[in-house]
């Protein structure tokens, strides 16, 4: 039985200034909405955030950005956020941009006991500058290191009391790797069911990776609603 939190603030209130956080989601899909709002409330600052994107100006991680709680952002695509660009250009925010597959694999490696690995992504570009490279089978690869976090904040559709998680469609994205890479992983879920009510063969993230659960309704804001013939 995992620890249950009352609300987003309750879940994240122990996160100290200067912590490194991994946050699940792709765009606004699969982000832990209430825990991000909880961080806005707690005011934890000088955070290093590892997440594919940085939200939009008024939702998701964009709220932490607006509140100047982020010291450094590690991600792959931040084009949806004007405040992000402003803070980087003015020197208020440090940023490390990583190829998306390398980001996913660095996080996966962090949770899976692999300290570093070679990948072709970024060879011959700025991304590989100053990094070790090596030729395998006649092709050049660059050495990339695992990423770790003090806390991992993720979002799933369903959990049982044992912390087993099931995601919904493309809301899975980075959440499973992030679950494994944090020292403490907190999962925000739409519904928690009694242990035994999930099909053990359909679990996406086994409960071993999860330390705490928050059941919370999700707004699920849509960034680009696109309709057929419209």
């Amino acid at each position: 039985m995992k620890k249950h939190y009352m609300n987003g603030y309750d879940a994240v209130s122990e996160i100290a200034d200067g912590s490194t956080l991994m946050v699940g989601g792709f765009g606004l899909v699969g982000i832990p909405e209430q825990m991000i709002l909880g961080l806005v409330e707690s005011g934890a600052k000088n955070l290093t955030i590892i997440s594919n994107n940085c939200g939009v100006d008024d939702w998701g991680l964009g709220l932490l950005l607006k509140n100047h709680q982020i010291k450094k952002m590690i991600g792959s695509y931040v084009g949806e956020n004007k405040e992000f660009e402003r803070q980087v250009l003015s020197g208020e925010l440090e940023v490390e941009l990583i190829p998306q597959g390398t980001l996913a694999e660095r996080i996966r490696a962090g949770g899976a006991g692999i300290p570093a690995f070679y990948t072709p992504a970024g060879v011959g570009t700025k991304v590989a500058e100053g990094k070790e490279t090596r030729v395998f089978h006649g092709k050049e690869y660059v050495l990339e290191h695992a990423l770790y976090a003090d806390y991992s904040l993720i979002r799933a559709c369903l959990a049982d009391e044992a912390g087993n998680l099931i995601y919904n469609k493309t809301a899975r994205n980075f959440n499973p790797m992030i679950a494994a890479a944090g020292k403490i992983t907190l999962a925000e879920v739409e519904n928690i069911v009694a242990t035994g009510n999930l099909n053990a063969d359909q679990i996406h993230t086994p409960g071993i990776y999860v330390q705490g659960l928050l059941e919370a309704k999700q707004e699920k804001r849509i960034e680009r609603k696109t309709i057929r013939n419209g």
Binding site: F26, G27, L97, R224
Partner: protein, 222 residues
């Protein structure tokens, strides 16, 4: 010949569609490449990969089918086809880097004669990030870049050496523009097709590197 921007886009997208063979698993980049999906011939069986974790992107949803948990890599709401599958981002890029995707069609700012691609960053201008492009260019079995032949000022986008930061070095196999189809080969750029309204001289004059002409070059090709 004066063409509107949407005409040009459609011409490029329709030509790029011909690169997609039945049975292919294909990744279409964000922006104009995404439009190609609108022109895929119905007799082809294609599975579109979305790097955020979906094999089998379907049409855009009807209003009552919109699912906020179901988007493509451009963050647009989509649907799934029958036989679709979902997976996490590490598996998605494993699938890409592992050479399982037959074709990736990406947009471009510059392509060099050796197949270097620049499409993610203009120094001092925008800070957006490379997303999945740097992984895709090393993973898909074939990389096709679609773009306008020249930039807004009329200068070539196919150049001897890219001036913009690279997405990948020696990664592009084929370039499709509004004017021509060119292959990147060990012997340099080879023109395979010339679009209607353009001559070989037009292509030479609007392409910076020396170009070779295929023995089977087609004129008025698209």
């Amino acid at each position: 010949m004066r063409q509107t921007k949407s005409n040009v886009r459609e011409r490029i997208a329709r030509r790029a569609e011909q690169e997609i063979k039945s049975g292919y698993y294909v990744n279409l980049g964000i922006g104009i490449p995404t439009l190609i999906a609108n022109y895929i011939s119905e007799d082809k069986e294609i599975v579109l990969q979305s790097e955020n974790g979906l094999l089998g992107i379907g049409e855009y949803p009807e209003e009552n089918e919109v699912d906020p948990d179901l988007i493509n890599a451009g963050k647009e709401t989509v649907t799934e086809i029958q036989g679709a599958s979902y997976f996490d981002s590490a598996e998605s890029f494993g699938m890409i880097r592992g050479g399982h995707v037959d074709l990736a069609i990406l947009g471009g700012m510059e392509v060099s004669e050796e197949g270097d691609l620049a499409n993610w960053m203009i120094p001092g201008k925008m800070i957006k990030g490379m997303g999945g492009a740097m992984d895709l260019v090393h993973g898909a079995k074939k990389i096709t870049v679609i773009m306008d032949h020249v930039n807004k000022d009329g200068a070539p986008k196919i150049v001897k050496n890219c001036s913009l930061p690279l997405t990948g070095k020696s990664v592009v196999n084929r370039i499709i523009t509004d004017r021509a189809v060119l292959d990147v080969t060990d012997n340099g750029l080879v023109v395979q097709e010339i679009a209607s309204g353009y001559t070989l001289d037009d292509i030479r004059n609007s392409t910076e590197p020396v170009i070779h002409v295929s023995s089977t070059v087609q004129y008025d090709a698209y």
